[in-house]
């Protein structure tokens, strides 16, 4: 799963920015793997896959400084998604969990970027929210279809 996440990360890095006014906003294809991991494999596996993905993606991409953004955004986003899934599963769907994850991920990235460049970048948040809607829908629907149609024997080893 880590290899798939890395591959999706690589493919996504080659795509142009999703929104011109929200640099850094992505669909978050890597988040699809994280979402599937905590549903199909368990929470610990999801955290492990996320940590490996962040580390390996920054090493292979030759940009270790990207860890400053990917690690806090990834871990906070995953924690929020797991909390929603664990405690509010009756009320929220995979799509809403995915949307919440994308929103938190983008918000944390803007906050970290603001701290790094010591400038208030909150004006970017509306564009990041727009990006989160697209990302949440894309990842949420894809995750739903995979969970629904993936044969159990593939993940229940």
């Amino acid at each position: 799963m880590t290899a798939v996440a890395l591959l999706l990360n690589l493919v996504e890095s080659m795509l142009p920015p999703m929104l011109p006014y929200a640099p850094g906003a992505k669909i978050g294809l890597g988040n699809l793997v994280t979402l599937l991991a905590f549903v199909l494999l368990g929470y610990a596996d999801a955290y492990l896959i996320l940590a490996l993905r962040c580390l390996l993606a920054s090493v292979f991409g030759g940009n270790v400084s990207a860890l400053i953004y990917s690690v806090p955004a990834g871990f906070i986003s995953l924690t929020v998604q797991i909390l929603l899934y664990h405690f509010l599963f009756r009320f929220v769907s995979i799509m809403s969990i995915s949307f919440a994850g994308a929103t938190v991920h983008n918000a944390v990235q803007v906050a970290v970027a603001s701290a790094v460049v010591k400038t208030n970048l909150m004006a970017m948040l509306p564009f990041m929210l727009a990006a989160s809607i697209v990302a949440g829908l894309t990842v949420g629907i894809t995750a739903f279809l995979i969970i629904k149609y993936l044969p159990k024997k593939v993940y229940a080893l």
Binding site: P23, G24, A66, Y85, F99, P126, L129, I133, I147, K148
Partner: protein, 129 residues
Amino acid sequence: MDEKKIDAIRSKKFPMGVLDVVVLAAAIALTVFLVCTVFGEKGSGVEIVGADMRIVLPLGENATRRISDCLTVEIRDGCVRVSESDCKNKTCVKTGKVSRVGESIVCAQNGIVITVIGGGDLAGSVGKG
């Protein structure tokens, strides 16, 4: 792994429920409102802020400036863009042209923020370019 939850997801016909539609509609409405609020009029200048400098350039005059010896800012036809940067991921270059008040280009690796500003914000420069 919780088999019951997986089975519950599998049993659904559609990925979206009523609550999802409500949340999505609210998010879209909020986004449209915020974007309309932030998306200002055409800017008259551009503010370039780095660790030890602040430069303000008019958007009305075509110009090309090397900033802190790490990126090149180009102003053409009332728009500003980063034409070249020595950073790794080139997010600042990929951002493309911006021209409206409040829009910005960020080169996080070099610690440089380029923001389009309105008429009342135009002022002098501080530090080195």
